[in-house]
């Protein structure tokens, strides 16, 4: 996440790009832009409303939003404390924990899904006890979707929040200490409000990643309409039977991505009301 410094209005002479750099840059741009443009070109605009009002499409959209929201909520509830531990305390094996936290960022989602299956599947290492003792079955359920999305998306939140906690103002926390505040009070009343923007940014990133999750979900939770079929899975399904529907659903996901990006960008701009 680079924070580029804007140089608009700078009197310095503009740099003229040499062809050897400009040409590859243009090709790169084309690779990124052409698929998205094509998606817009091929969108059946006239049938769009009808395609999206289809029962299964609406179910998939609702399920996607619900699961992604739940995954983000879980990430906040459990991920923020872990981020705090990583940023503020020193415990043996902290580096290992940090590596573990970031692993899902680079791990192929299918592998994540398989690992989840081996852990929480009905005959999995832990899953068998969940089943035997509590009658809880995670694979191929909506709860499984949420777990898969949390597994893949939580690192985005943890990494963002840990960075913010690290650079958060130690001086203010110290001042709070001299005002009788316990560690938890400081966390609640000083630290959390101060990292608010990063908390939102991390949540949005987490939500976005959860919404697009495909590999881990289909491996661990399967592809059942109404219970585990989220938007990306629905797109994948529709591609074989009804390509127009697939495009329409994809358009919704693209629009969501754009909204998320805009929200993030606004967060990264200098705070408007001086809230910090």
């Amino acid at each position: 996440m680079s924070r580029s410094t804007s140089t608009i209005g700078s009197p310095d002479r503009r740099l003229r790009a040499p062809v050897a750099l400009a040409l590859p840059a243009l090709i790169c741009l084309a690779v990124l832009a052409l698929p998205l443009i094509s998606l817009l070109v091929r969108t059946p605009w006239s049938d769009l409303a009808e395609l999206l009002s289809d029962e299964s499409a609406r179910t998939a959209l609702r399920l996607s939003l619900e699961c992604a929201a739940a995954a983000t909520g879980l990430s906040l509830l459990f991920g923020v404390p872990l981020a705090w531990m990583l940023a503020k305390t020193d415990f043996p094996g902290r580096q290992l924990v940090r590596a573990l936290v970031t692993l899902p960022l680079v791990l192929p989602p299918v592998v994540s899904g398989l690992a989840l299956l081996l852990a929480f599947g009905r005959r999995g290492v832990f899953g068998r006890y969940l089943d035997q003792w509590f009658g809880i079955q995670l694979p191929f359920t909506t709860a499984g979707v949420i777990l898969a999305e949390t597994f893949v998306a939580m690192p985005f939140l943890i990494v963002t929040v840990e960075g913010a906690l690290r650079s958060a103002d130690q001086d203010l926390e110290e001042a709070a200490t001299t005002l009788r505040a316990s560690r938890f009070t400081i966390f609640r009343r000083i630290t959390l409000p101060l990292i608010g923007p990063s908390l939102i940014a991390g949540s949005v990133l987490c939500f976005g990643r959860a919404l697009g999750e495909f590999g881990a979900t289909i491996t661990f939770a399967g592809n059942f309409s109404g219970t585990t079929q989220t938007m990306p899975l629905a797109v994948y399904d529709a591609l074989e039977t009804n390509p127009d529907a697939a495009i329409a659903l994809s358009l919704v996901l693209l629009a969501t991505a754009v909204v998320i990006l805009t929200a993030l960008h606004r967060r990264w701009l200098p705070a408007v009301g001086g809230g910090l």
């Binding site: 001086d171 203010l172 110290e174 001042a175 709070a176 200490t177 001299t178 005002l179 009788r180 505040a181």
Partner: protein, 385 residues
Amino acid sequence: MSTDGTGGTEPGSALQVSVRVQREDLVLDVDFTVGPSEVVAVLGPNGAGKTTLLRTLAGLSTPSRGRILLHGQPLLDTERGIDCPPERRPVGYVFQNYRLFPHLSVRENVAFAARSSGIHRAQARRQAEHWLERFGLRTLAARRPGQLSGGQSQRVALARALAADPALLLLDEPMAALDARTKLEVRSELRRHLADFAGPTLVVTHDPLEALVMADRLLVIEGGRIVQAGQPADIARRPATEYVARLVGLNLYPGLQGLDGAIDLDGGGRLFATGAPADARDRPTTSERVLAALRPSAIALHTSRPENSSPRNLWEGRITGVELLLERVRIEISGSPSAIVDVTPAAVAELELAPGTRVWLSAKATEIDVYPDPAEPVANVGEEV
């Protein structure tokens, strides 16, 4: 080393400190007491360990060994394994940049300590209201710290610290963040608030004027050690170190005083003083280490060697600097010894004093104040009595 001035004896003092703090670049090793409701200014150059001392008292820094007693209760005693965590020490801290919570209003800042200690919101607000009233902050109560001036921020910081009902108050350079004009207004106000506070107070500063105005007693720290402690007036008259002498604007010469009263200065040169070690009750039997203080206005300047001059001290030097003060001109002279000399602007014009000019300096022996050098602790003063 015991350095109490008005603080009184150990049992009567509200704060007893004896700590040693190891920092990468410095070892702070101090031992002092502060009386109840006494305001002590901690004066010293940058990096002397002033802030480290405050942080240690507040529990934000951990000393390698030491003992801190506040009203007889130990906040720290490394020998007995006591180290009260900062949030449980009844210590108010006004930080150098105030460190107000930017996301909370002035009212919430002031109510913070009460809320932290579990007091109900409504009651915490009522208590805050009392402090806001007292510090004239009622009209600013809803503002965020970002909307306050420097002077207002300082008031909020002090109100916030006092609202926690501390038994000891620490202020770290409370004026440093203010501009010159605001300083003047805030200083007397701050002094008033400190006078109202019942417990011992430590104010860190490197501004001697601030120290003189606000404190009952000064503690001068250099290189992690207390080099001088006492009444502001005494310290201003008889500085113990070069640093203090420069602060109060005196020439200070360490040297060895012989039986004849002549002082051989460490930096070269010789001065005669009448009387002789004013503090020594009996005449010294051998040469002793002394400090000789000489006011810049007590030195006369001449452009040629004065004929049949009466002052016993006469030496030559070269002007290295000329600086205009309020009503006089301060001349820096290198020689044996070097000196700063205050003259009138008229004299500067008349004698054509400028950097590079060779001058003769003269000073009466009666103008030189000689006292034992405290840096030389035992020597022979008092030991035989």
